[in-house]
């Protein structure tokens, strides 16, 4: 009887603690997003929660916020080119180093992933020093080059993971059936690793679109980037327009993420 009771207390106290802490964690994770979206529909002038009333006025204000719109366009263009460069360079590199036991391949793997752990701000400063030494003025081009360094690791990581999950028997049978290397790549390898490349490209795009530390050093005065614009708006005054812009960003991201989840199993690949 007594041991039975003790077991029950033990079971309930353990599962109760886990549930309580996990619940707290879920609230912590979800609350900020929910609150930003709700506040963006306020009819008032402040970031009070809950809002005194609801309206679409801040979305209307957003339509006239030229600075934010221009900044968003710049960020999209830079993120687009960065993603293209990252996917081309990253996929080729991943093909070369995945499954290779050679020391050179292992070293290159560590090198290509190292921007992930280095403070991006330090790299931003270093890149600015290089460009000014070489006499190249900062421009959207320097932004794209800098962003590619910090975004390409995502493509390398997901593509290498996809390649190492591939069954080598498929390649052998393709070769033994007389297919050329190019045909094997196009018809067997590429379709199998496409989800990995897609997921990596998506993460690279998001990382570039959201990047502040590298952009701070490598943009010229004329090129306003969205996250920097929003950050400076927030430091100056707490503007509700930023809440409306944030909500639109959240919506766009959720839609993109759901599409990517369907196409590439995004959550599985991010966990790896």
């Amino acid at each position: 009887m007594r041991t039975r009771l003790r077991r029950d207390v033990d079971w309930f106290s353990f599962h109760g603690t886990v549930l309580l802490l996990a619940g707290l964690c879920l609230v912590l994770l979800a609350a900020p997003t929910v609150i930003v979206v709700v506040v963006s529909f306020t009819s008032g002038f402040s970031l009070r929660f809950p809002p005194p009333g609801y309206s679409l006025r801040w979305y209307a204000a957003l339509a006239e916020a030229e600075q934010l719109r221009a900044a968003a366009w710049n960020s999209l263009v830079v993120a687009g080119w960065t993603t293209l460069l990252s996917v081309v360079l990253g996929t080729a590199a991943a093909l070369a180093i995945a499954r290779s036991p050679r020391l050179s391949a292992r070293l290159l793997d560590s090198l290509f992933l190292s921007p992930l752990v280095l403070p991006a701000l330090a790299f931003g400063l270093a890149a600015l020093m290089l460009f000014s030494l070489a006499g190249i003025p900062v421009s959207p081009l320097t932004l794209i080059l800098g962003h590619t360094v910090v975004c390409v690791p995502f493509v390398v990581r997901t593509t290498v993971a996809a390649l190492s999950q591939m069954d080598p028997v498929l390649l052998e049978s393709s070769t033994s059936l007389g297919a050329s290397r190019l045909t094997t790549f196009r018809r067997v390898t590429l379709p199998l690793i496409r989800p990995g490349i897609l997921a990596g490209g998506f993460i690279a795009f998001m990382a570039s679109f959201d990047n502040v530390p590298v952009s701070l050093f490598l943009r010229d005065a004329a090129t306003d980037m969205l996250p920097i614009r929003m950050w400076q708006d927030l430091e100056g005054r707490l503007d509700v327009t930023v809440a409306a812009a944030s909500s639109l960003l959240i919506l766009a991201t959720v839609v993109l993420a759901v599409v990517m989840e369907r196409a590439a199993g995004l959550s599985r690949r991010m966990a790896g």
Binding site: L19, L29, A31, G178
Partner: protein
């Protein structure tokens, strides 16, 4: 020709796939990294050895200035300590959530995974902005405290270290939970059943079976969270405000407002070395724990 291929293929088994693609395919990215990643870092090291802001003569003055200055050392210490606090909080809340995720049935698991992933996909500025709304004078926490009569005047929550740790914990939480889920789902469920059958309670099973087996995941999660928390420039400056100075902002101030490149470079190098030292230390712990988990 095709027939020759069929005959030739089995003669060298495995060769076709272990080195399926030429290592030269890595050359374009390798060259790109040489020019735009390694060269800048080398230049950063070089510039840090200039003795004066005008960059006319070499010397160790910048490092001496940093390492002998109590203010700079306090900034470094505060930054690393902030990383420890955030990592501890994310582990305390993230591990139970990871456990819940591995217990949850299919559909619920998908929903929970989405909630975990969302912050990772939302802009850092947006995530940080949300915390200003929550912690501000008119924010939800203060409104609740006032309504409950727990306080008469709004509390100062924004621009405090507690607020900053909480906000950073939310921002970095996915980096902790995702490796934990991976590690937990690799554990053979029979082990927990065996432990229960042998008479161990839920707590004992967790502490003696589950926890040691997912140590590699814990180390991986701590590593990512720590590195991200100490370099989270935006969150640090917006939630921490002007009173609290951490390494990234210190570096940025010296480089951009004061235009002191050699000192900024020295700060960057000291910061890089500190981050790498912490990462290496954690990696070492991870390798040791993996050895134990397999034994």
């Amino acid at each position: 020709m095709a027939a020759a291929g069929v005959v030739a293929a089995p003669l060298r088994p495995g060769r076709a796939w272990t080195a399926a693609y030429d290592i030269r395919l890595a050359l374009p990215l390798g060259a790109f990294f040489l020019v735009f990643f390694l060269a800048p870092l080398a230049l950063l090291v070089l510039v840090s050895f200039y003795a004066d802001p005008g960059m006319t003569r070499f010397g160790l003055d910048q490092y001496a200035r940093f390492l002998l200055d109590p203010f700079s050392l306090r900034v470094l210490g505060a930054t690393l300590w902030l990383g420890v606090e955030v990592t501890a909080l994310t582990l305390l809340l993230g591990l139970p959530l990871a456990l819940l995720l591995t217990w949850a049935p299919g559909r619920l698991r998908g929903l929970l995974t989405l909630i975990v992933l969302l912050p990772l996909l939302t802009s850092v500025v947006v995530r940080t902005f949300a915390w200003i709304v929550i912690l501000g004078r008119q924010g939800i926490v203060n409104a609740g405290l006032l309504a409950l009569g727990l306080t008469d005047t709004p509390l100062k929550l924004l621009y405090t270290e507690g607020g900053l740790v909480l906000a950073l914990a939310q921002v970095q939480m996915p980096l902790m939970v995702l490796p934990l889920v991976t590690a937990l789902s690799r554990i053979d469920p029979n082990l927990a059943d065996a432990s229960a059958a042998l008479g161990a309670g839920a707590w004992r099973t967790f502490l003696r079976v589950t926890l040691p087996l997912c140590l590699p995941g814990i180390v991986a999660g701590c590593l990512l969270t720590f590195a991200a928390a100490i370099t989270a420039f935006i969150t640090q400056s917006l939630i921490g405000g002007g009173q609290m100075l951490f390494m990234p902002m210190y570096l940025y101030q010296q480089a951009s407002s004061l235009n002191n490149w050699p000192f900024a470079a020295a700060i960057a190098i000291v910061f890089l070395v500190a981050v790498l030292a912490c990462v290496t230390l954690l990696n070492l712990v991870g390798r040791l724990s993996r050895g134990r988990a397999q034994a």
